[in-house]
Amino acid sequence: MDNFLGQFGPATVGGLAIGSIYALVALGYTMVYGVLRLINFAHSEVFTIGGFAAVGVFLMVGVSAPVGGFALIGLLLLTVLVAMAASGGTALLLEQVAYRPLRKHGSSRLAALISAIGASLFLQELIKLVIIPHVFGQSNGAIQLQNMPRVIDKTPLFSIGNAPIRLDHVIIVVAAVIMMVLLDRLVNGTRVGRGIRATAQDPEAAVLMGVNIDKVVRTTFLLGGAMAGVAGVLYLLYFENLDYRVGFVVGIKAFTAAVLGGIGNLRGALLGGFVLGLVESWSSIFLGAEWSEVTAFVVLVLVLMFRPTGILGESLQRARA
């Protein structure tokens, strides 16, 4: 029991942090699914690119020691903007190259799915064979980026119970929630958002009502990509570690979070991310870290057995108009 109490606090903090990252990535899956009924498997690489863009910024600015105060806020804002641009741009390009031609030809959803998997593998190899050796100059088989700069101080700020809270924990959770609220406002409160919801609800009717579907799809990919870019920055701050495959595991978890919360549902993605992060973290206390994935998926299966549409269930197209 001591063992459990000793680990519960830190496990909760860690679970919320990783859950925030899952949630941000899950948004991209859920939005694209809501609008196109397509699972964008290459979204995990969109996330990875955000992380690499962030390292690029850190190296270019020349961060060698942890920064604090306004310098840190400025640096993070810059990094987040660059990462959002890089990831959003990648997502747009993906849509243009890998999905739009298929959509225009009215091919089956299965074809789009294969195209998504292909795009995912292509981007992974691109990162491995081009970006890491040529952009970051690490060609000697170093697939993992070496000597990652430390940007924020990782000594605990304060403790809640026996759980030390670090600055990166705070930044990750706060940033994720802010992004989530912004996105929620955008989708539920603006003209662009109304277009997205209309398309999700009934694409044909939306066209008849004057919605430009291509524009809506582009916006969806851009927004989802930008969220993944933010997630990439947060991941980097948290783990200070990147390789060409980081997106794979995070992507699968995020997709799971999206399904858990109710795919197509933005708030569901947030909830699903936190639930998944916490379940993983808590289950490790009892069963050891190697079982965290098993437990996470058992929870997913259980939830889907009783609520086949996920925890919140309500999907994007049925969200309040």
């Binding site: 000793g6 830190p10 860690g14 088989g141 993992q144 000597n147 990652m148 390789d243 490790s284 994935e293």
Partner: protein, 401 residues
């Protein structure tokens, strides 16, 4: 009648293929008898392959032994021997260290490239997955770096290695740490790879035998998040954390442990003996970490044959020999000795390896009946100011700082 025609075409196709096959087989048979004779003139050569993770995330452990072997074979071939050894690039099989890729590559090595012997596989998981296959095809193998103890217990007749196994490594490291730090509580951590589990079990057993309280944890290799392990350490408050695993995971683990405020000393094994451990964890986090290894890396100034080797290696590859380079050189030398003695078939070479005994660069090389090396020295290293330095033989070395 029309319906019959396709069948006839198919039949001729089958016949043609069959003939082509038997021709090809005849060709092969001819080749191997040439090679087997060994007296067939200057042009004859045999092929030795190499297998391991050549481009993956743990390739830092595999490229040095490959280079060591290249060096040995180049020296040998430069002497213009009667039977040359072909060790060209196409025979370097990149298994990525994966058990599911290795068997296909072994099939290719045997049936297409017709290798006579194999250096590797580098890791234990892949060695386990191909041992039987190599045995059935009578291909002698010498691994420079696979250290799982179980490999020697499969009854494989053609399998050898030139490093001590984890059963030696575990107690060697544990003995050393007990003398240096006398810990009461030890947390033994590993990921879910074959090598990691083997080493962690050996470490846990060795520390238990010394009377310490041992807690264990295991994480999944592909998960980025090792915080659950760090949380366990926070709660258990060990005096020492022992990690079984490769540097790619070790660096991340060490970083996340230190970030979580866990200050206990960190000790790990050969898979993490790479600068990647330091750069992965960050120099500050890695400071003081202890690494044990059955390998001997000529860090700093060395003397005798080890110095010769270091100089030659540096001249050829423009870098100092890293982990298992010396062992790769010794594994290659074992094959060279066999060929020099006129053995050119898999069977003959394998028989010869049973009696082989020579002073290798890393240690005296002599194989036991099960393929294990006779000498089982463990060496310890420590990270100081961001650099890994050799402390010495684990039975004599002293920890600094």
């Amino acid at each position: 009648m029309a319906a019959l025609r396709p069948k006839i075409t198919r039949l001729t196709g089958v016949l043609a293929t069959g003939m082509a096959l038997s021709l090809a087989l005849a060709g092969c048979a001819g080749n191997s008898s040439d090679g087997g004779g060994g007296t067939g003139g200057n042009a004859s050569s045999i092929k030795i392959g190499f297998m391991g993770d050549l481009t993956g995330e743990n390739s830092g452990i595999v490229i040095p032994p490959l280079n060591g072997a290249i060096l040995a074979f180049e020296e040998y071939n430069a002497k213009n021997p009667k039977v040359k050894i072909d060790f060209n690039k196409d025979l370097h099989y990149d298994s990525q260290g994966k058990s599911d890729i290795a068997p296909n590559l072994v099939t290719k090595a045997i049936s297409q490239d017709k290798v006579t012997g194999l250096i590797g596989p580098a890791f234990s998981g892949e060695s386990k997955s191909v041992g039987k296959q190599l045995d059935e095809n009578k291909i002698p193998s010498v691994s420079p770096s696979a250290t799982n103890p179980g490999l020697a217990q499969n009854g494989w007749k053609y399998w050898h290695r030139v490093v001590a196994n984890d059963n030696d490594q575990g107690p060697g490291i544990a003995d050393f740490m007990m003398r240096a730090k006398s810990p009461k509580k030890v947390l033994v951590v590993s990921d879910d790879q074959e090598y990691s589990i083997g080493l962690a079990e050996a470490l846990a057993k060795a520390f238990k035998d010394k009377g310490t309280t041992v807690e264990t944890d295991k994480f999944s290799k592909d998960s980025p998040n090792y915080n659950p392990t760090a949380n366990k350490a926070t709660a258990f408050q060990p005096d020492l954390i022992a990690f079984g695993g490769y540097y790619a995971q070790g660096g991340k683990l060490l970083k996340q442990l230190r970030d979580a405020g866990v200050k206990a000393p960190f000790v790990t094994g050969d898979g993490s003996l790479d600068a990647g451990l330091v750069s992965g964890a960050g120099a500050q986090n890695a400071e003081g970490a202890v690494i044990g290894c059955p390998c001997k890396i000529p860090f700093g100034s060395v003397t005798g044959p080890l110095k010769d080797f270091k100089d030659k290696y540096k001249a050829r590859f423009n870098t100092d020999p890293q982990i298992y380079a010396a062992e790769g050189y010794d594994a290659a030398t074992a094959f060279i000795k066999a060929v020099e003695a006129g053995k050119t078939s898999g069977d003959d070479i394998n028989e010869f390896l049973k009696t082989l005994s020579f002073e290798g660069v890393s240690k005296p090389i002599k194989f036991k009946d099960n393929g294990e090396p006779q000498a089982n020295s463990i060496f310890v290293y420590q990270v100081k100011a961001g650099q890994i330095g050799l402390l010495g033989d684990s039975t004599q070395a002293k920890l600094e700082g």
